[in-house]
Structure formats: C-alpha cells, structure tokens
Symmetry: C2
Subunit: 374 residues, 2 copies
Amino acid sequence: MDSGRVKELPLRDNIAAQRIAEEVIGDFEARMAIVIPTKDEKLELFEGVISGIPHECLIIVVSNSQTRRTDRFKMEKEALKQFCHFTRREALIIHQKDPILARALADAGYTDILVEDELIRDGKAEGMVAGIFIAMIAKRDFVGFIDADNYFPGAVWEYARCYASGFSMAESPYSMVRVLWRYKPKISAGMFFNRWGRVSEITNRCMNSLISNKTGSETEIIKTGNAGEHAMSLRLAETLTYASGYAVESQELISIFEGFGDIVSIVDPTIAKRGIEIFQTETRNPHLHEERGGQHLLVEMLLPSLGSIYHSSLCGNETKRLIIDELLQQNAIRSKEEPPKPRLIAPPQTINMKKFTSVIAEHMKSYSALEGEE
Amino acid sequence: MDSGRVKELPLRDNIAAQRIAEEVIGDFEARMAIVIPTKDEKLELFEGVISGIPHECLIIVVSNSQTRRTDRFKMEKEALKQFCHFTRREALIIHQKDPILARALADAGYTDILVEDELIRDGKAEGMVAGIFIAMIAKRDFVGFIDADNYFPGAVWEYARCYASGFSMAESPYSMVRVLWRYKPKISAGMFFNRWGRVSEITNRCMNSLISNKTGSETEIIKTGNAGEHAMSLRLAETLTYASGYAVESQELISIFEGFGDIVSIVDPTIAKRGIEIFQTETRNPHLHEERGGQHLLVEMLLPSLGSIYHSSLCGNETKRLIIDELLQQNAIRSKEEPPKPRLIAPPQTINMKKFTSVIAEHMKSYSALEGEE
C-alpha cells in the first residue's frame, strides 16, 4: 500500500523487492491525469471514485451521461465541483458529446472517433481517447484510466498508486502500467472471490497463445489483457492505435506487439530503440464493482476482445483456432463464423495538434469543475 | 483519502475544511502502534490486514489463535515475518497466552486481565489491553486498534490514516479517534449497504440518551459507541478503565464521561484541565468484514455494550428505561432482568511500570516478527 518516506537507508537495498518512497510517488502523481470515463453511473459511486483519486493527480471526467430526461451530467458536474471546492483541487469535466471538442477534433483532421464529423461516437474507447487529448492539452506526462463503477475509494486510490509506482520504475519514456486485480468478487454471487474474471481469463489465454506461437516458448506472461484499469505515459499513448468498444484494452497490447515487436514492420524505430515497458501490477485490494448482466455481457465483452487478437497480423493459425474454439464454447459465434474485426482508431499523434489546441484552448476554462469560482 | 503534500498555500486556508499534508500524516504514523487483536482468523484476511497498515506504523499483533491442533499462531508469525522481510519493516507478535507477559503483569501488580494470576484471560478486550502495554514498552505515543477480519487492505490503510489525521488536529495530549464506517455492508445479504449496524445504532441511541439527560439538550453526537476501529494517545489510553468483552468500546467513552465529565468526581484534575478530545471520523471506504451469526451475535454484542451504559453512575432512570426497552425488544433479556454489569479492567497506569519493564524488556526481541533475521 505504501512504503513510507525517504530514509537514510538505500532504497534499493534489496534484490527481490523495491521500496518506492512516498515523495517519489507524489512526484509522479503530480505529473499524471486520471481519466474517468462514465455513463449514467450511480452518483454515489461516481463521487466515491472521485474521492479516491490521489490529491496530486489531475482528474479528468469524460461523461457520456444523459442530459435530457434528467440531466445526470449536470449532477456529476455539481458533485465534482463540491468535491473540488472542499478539497481545494482542480478537475476537468467534459461531456463526450461536447460540440466544441468534436469541432476541434474535426478541424484538426482527427475524425476516427467522430460520427459524420459532428459529434464523438458513443463508447468507452472513444471517451478514453477524448480523455487522452484533454490530458495532452493539460500538459501531463501520464494518463491513467479508472472506471466509475467502483465501490471502494481505497481501491481507486491504490490503482493510481500502482500507476505512479510503475512509472517511477520505468526506464523508457514509453511505458504502460496495467492493473491485475487481486480478486474480482462478484457481488451477485455473495462473497465468492473468483480469482479471474471469465473474460480476462480467456483473453489472456489467447494473447499468451499468440505470443507463445511467435516466440516459440510457452508463456503465461499476459495477465492483464482486459485491464480496464491501466495507464500510459502520454508519449506512448499518443503513438498507439486504439479500437472501439470492449476491444480497446486488448488492442493496446496488440498495437504495441505489432508496432514495436520487431516482427511486422516497426512503426517508429526511435521508440523501438528506447523500448516499451509494460508493468503488470497486482493490487492488494479486491476489485468490487457493479455487476451487469451475465452470459450476455460476457459474450458482448469477449467477442471484440478476442476479435482484436484474431485479426492481428501477428495471429497465427493455432491461436485463431483457439479463439474460435473459445467463442464456440461460449456460444458467442456459430460454426464457420469469425469474431468481428475491431474498428480501429488512429494514434492521437496523427492530429494536427496546433490546430486542435487553437480551437480548444479558449474553452478549457469552461471544462473546469470550479468554473466561475476562482 | 489524502490531501497531498505541503504546498506554498497556507494549509488552513479554509474554514470548513482542513488540509493535512502527507508529511504531517507520516510524522504521526511514525509515532503510532497499530494493535491487531486476532483469533483464528483466516490467514488470507490476516495477511491482507497487515498489508494495509501504513509503512511508518509499528504493527503489534496480539493473537489468541490456537496452537494445539494446528498451530495457527505459528502460521500467523510466519506470514508476518514474510511480510516484514519483503517490506523491510518491524512488527511485534505475541500470543495472548504468552506466559512471560502474564508473569510480567502479575509481578508488576496488574492482575485484572489475568486468570488466577497465571495467564491472560481470553477476550478481545484483554488482548487490546495487552497491546497497550506492548505499545507502552515500544515507546509509541499513539495506539490504534484494527480488527483482523477486514476484506479490504485499503480500508485498513484508511483507518490508520484517520487516526493519524485526527491526532494531528488534536490540541490536547489526551485524544481519541473513533472511526465511523461509511456503510457496513453485510456480505451474507448480497450487497446491501446498510447505513448502520444494528448494534451500533442501539448503542449510540442509548449513549446519546445518557448525554441528553445529563446536559438537558437532545443530542445525536455519539456515532461511534461501538467503534472497534479506534485509537488513543497512549497518555489517554493509560488512564482509562476498560471492560471485558464487547463492552470495551462503549466503556471507554463511559470512562471518559465519568472520569472527566465534571459530573461525578474527576479522576485526574490535570487531565480534565487539558481536556480530552474525541474525534469521530467517517471513512470513505465501506467496511466489509466477516459476518458471524445473526440475532444471536447481535444480542451477544448488545448486552455488554448497553450494560456498560446502564451501570454507569451517570445513567439516569430515563436512559435505563430506554435500555431495558431496547433489550426486551431484541429478546436479549426477560422482563424484570437487567443487563449484566461489565467486568472492569483497571487503567494500565496502575501497573508498576518499572517492574513490568524489567521483566519484559529482555524478552521483547523474541516478539519481533523478524526474530533471528537481523
């Protein structure tokens, strides 16, 4: 949970364990934005999640909540404002359908997340990419994602700490931290802590198969194929190709393997030379979140997730067969069907940043949670 | 959860909210011992709780776990040793039936928690008092208690932070922090977060009745009558009269009201002059713990808890009637019965500290989790 403050003792006095002082974590938190994509989440959960973000981090809420019947977005804004007022901190909140943000993206030539060049598409992945752009404008060095449906502020807090401690250990400017939940208890089934969510288990197996087949050695190295809780240095985040919907988290890894794995053509030799570091961190806290749907949701999440692996140029026949088998077993496809191709989203760095900034800069104040207060 | 690091900004720049810098919390944590009373708790929960104690705090485990059939105490010692080894920190672990500790207490004339002057009695309260003595020997300024049956290391971590932040705000050297859970979800009943445990609710009502009747104004000020998670400055802890069993937490408040409330005779005018500060802190994390028993346990906890209020010299007839009514309603007593008198435990300061230290000092090393390692 923490490893105390700087001491006279050498920090790296141990081979197996590394002590990261409180001050170092604070330094990295201060350079980090936490993006919370949300959509009609219970206000109490939303407010709890906000409260768990370490004080030094910049909070960026990208909300796709309804504004018509009841204006839930307004309620989120108000909750965030209250929190920021009393804790004396800064946060940004923007609606996914914000017309100015969409126009700024369109003007700057970045249309992959837009619908007919007018508004940003629905979907968590699109909200995440929007969050990356806001973090770029806010000039942070790291961006982390945390879902808004978490029951434990203390778990949220730990995720952000995992991110910060991972980045503090990174030697490359291109780094990623993915969180592995210690357990993923299902609320509906009483207090049974099952070690792995089903979706994660299958995704990890297929991704490990892909790696095993390319490297020729059996591996179980991927444990966070579906990690919703993850963070990246912005320098890495800018270069990755994303995917819509539930494919987004696995596509990130696929993009890294494809772009910098030295198997298919390398996207950027400078980056490949510096290397990309991926940290998979196991939390102490269990992950307790809203449980939605059963088999239905499993399939809905599994299909795109495995689709991103299946359609990778790295995916060999053996892994393809494994994916088909898994999907058939879950009744997610019929025989002879394939998982859908992911809808890809171009790397954020393809935007005309100057143009984007010139449109959005003057509106940034209106996204501030404390707008009008100071 | 945290309020960041020291900034140029004045910390008390706000009237309603107070910012407590990370460094200040660290200073108080370093002066604090956390006592974990445990008895045959699941090893995984025990280990999780240990991991949630902030790095700067001294961990003191007082275990009453079985040593015969399977030596659970040995397993706890091993788990603690592993943890301390890898996190490079110090902890103490002692068995409640440790014969040396019992002898040291007996030799020093403190026999209230002993059975026939031979061993320490069973019971959490007795373990807590033993923990206070160990914290005194370890020369800490504050002692906090955290139960070992908590599912969330992050909640444990927050309790210790609540303690530290409370003490940092205290102006009197005689202070207490009591934790109010934000919710107390019952595991067995799915994910229903009921705002108050039944026992706490009734205890608080009766204690508030006692205060209301003495002061003449209706109050709901007591919200933590049964707070298992609480901490005290050792200077306060030394002066209080405790009670056996489930009466211990409510008796602490009763002892303060009786001893320093300026109604019955004041125990120590110096302390009364400095004042005693009690902080009731609400957590952000819900409290998720092992649920044991239903109505049976409710009665088992409620009876002693209300007994400590009922038999206080401060308790007027109106409050006594309320207590009887509550107990009848819960079928905890039969008509014309009274709740049992609490078995009181003399203040730790009544011990002959010099004698106690002389016996126990040379054995302190054997209680170290890293015994033999350094």
